[in-house]
């Protein structure tokens, strides 16, 4: 009995010390302003600002990501030799046509440094893709977006912050629609 009482006393003191130390650490380690958000730092990751780029389209227009601020953007890195990239493109076209009137944009960046412009153009023509196809001829954007696997898609919110990254494919049409709807519902 006496042994139990001593155990309880020691255990209660131990527990109180642990809990007070924990509470103190929580207080001391409160997040400093801006210490835990990546929103202002450009990095190819959810919660960070999408790295900016300016690229030429297949028909010679110049498009920069920063000029699309205020609109939800899907950045898709692809190549014409990559089967999952090719199989998700018709769904992209469908979804783009359904949501472009609401400001949704797809920037399909061809990893031209590991593809050929002829093959890319032929694929776009065959599939009658109407969204902008950008040419990353020197692979700089692929490098900035730390491309490791094709296809890779970045869903960018109206404020330019990456909301989701999908590595690999093909992406299900349902997933694509859900992500686009979520982006459209976001306030700026």
């Amino acid at each position: 009995m006496e042994k139990d009482k001593t155990f309880h006393l020691r255990w209660n003191i131990f527990s109180i010390i642990i809990l007070l130390a924990g509470a103190g650490w929580i207080w001391l380690s409160k997040a400093p302003p801006g210490g835990t958000t990546g929103g202002d730092i450009p990095a190819p990751r959810q919660g960070f600002r999408a790295p900016d780029f300016t690229l030429q389209t297949l028909d010679g227009q110049s498009i920069s990501l920063s000029s699309l601020r205020g609109r939800p953007v899907l950045i898709n890195l692809w190549a014409s030799w990559c089967p999952p990239c090719k199989s998700e493109m018709p769904d992209f076209e469908k979804v783009y046509n359904d949501y472009k009137s609401q400001g949704f944009v797809i920037l399909a960046i061809n990893a031209t440094n590991q593809d050929t412009l002829t093959n890319a153009s032929e694929f776009v023509r065959q599939n009658q893709l109407t969204f902008p196809i950008l040419i990353d001829s020197d692979g700089q954007v692929s490098q900035n977006y730390q491309l490791r696997s094709l296809p890779t898609s970045f869903f960018v919110g109206k404020n330019g912050v990456i909301r989701d990254v999908i590595v690999g494919g093909p992406m299900a049409e349902a997933l694509l629609r859900i992500r686009v709807q979520n982006l459209l519902e976001e306030k700026r």
């Binding site: 255990w11 209660n12 642990i18 809990l19 924990g22 835990t36 299900a172 049409e173 349902a174 997933l175």
Partner: protein, 255 residues
Amino acid sequence: MLPTLTVGPFAIPVAPMAILISLWVGLTLAERNALRYGVNANHLYNLVFIALVAGVVGARLVYVVRYPGIFASSPIGAFSTNPDLLDPWGGIAVGLIAALIYGQRKKIALWPLLDALTPGLALLWVAFGFSHLASGNAFGMPTNLPWGIELWGAVRQPTQVYEIFAALVILGAVWPGSRITTGQPSGGAFLIFSACTAGARLFLEAFRGDSIILAGGFRSAQIIAWLIIAISLWGLAKMHDRSRKPLKNTDEQIQ
């Protein structure tokens, strides 16, 4: 950081692979540990298997229910192999319910079961650390420390490495036959694991750059971890009392 491992034409995502491997090894470890706690190893294996399958199916079903309009227009999406079409919390809830039903049917005692599963859970936490290191998730705050790592546009605290280190220490503490868990009352091993894991999370969260912040700058994970520590310490005291309480009458002794 190594998010994908390219093997020929396949891009294998490293993070889920690390978790899958640890699930397999952890389950084997738990099966071997079952006898020590008087749990039928087959029942334990079946319970985990049922919980996992129900969890995955449940995660997809909950996701479909959340977006009925989209899946009605594209029903094939409900059968997609894409892991992004899963609701993790829905999956956990369905998996736990399935485990509870199976456990009740087979009359598996809860605390010995949790004790038997503890080394496997500790191993799973180590795997989470490796998966975070591979994917760059659970990243740290920017730092000037010499051991900082370049990640996501800044030199950051290597929180994933801290996490792996803490998880390995805890795994050692709860490894089958360790001095810390041996001789504990039923549920003791699991509660020690819970308290240590929550303690490590409470401490390491301070260095994280992706915390969910509550009003006043408090980090939500630390508050939850503090509550888990409090519950675990209270539970350990109760377990100790129960293990020392003399049985009331001879009927109870026979049972």
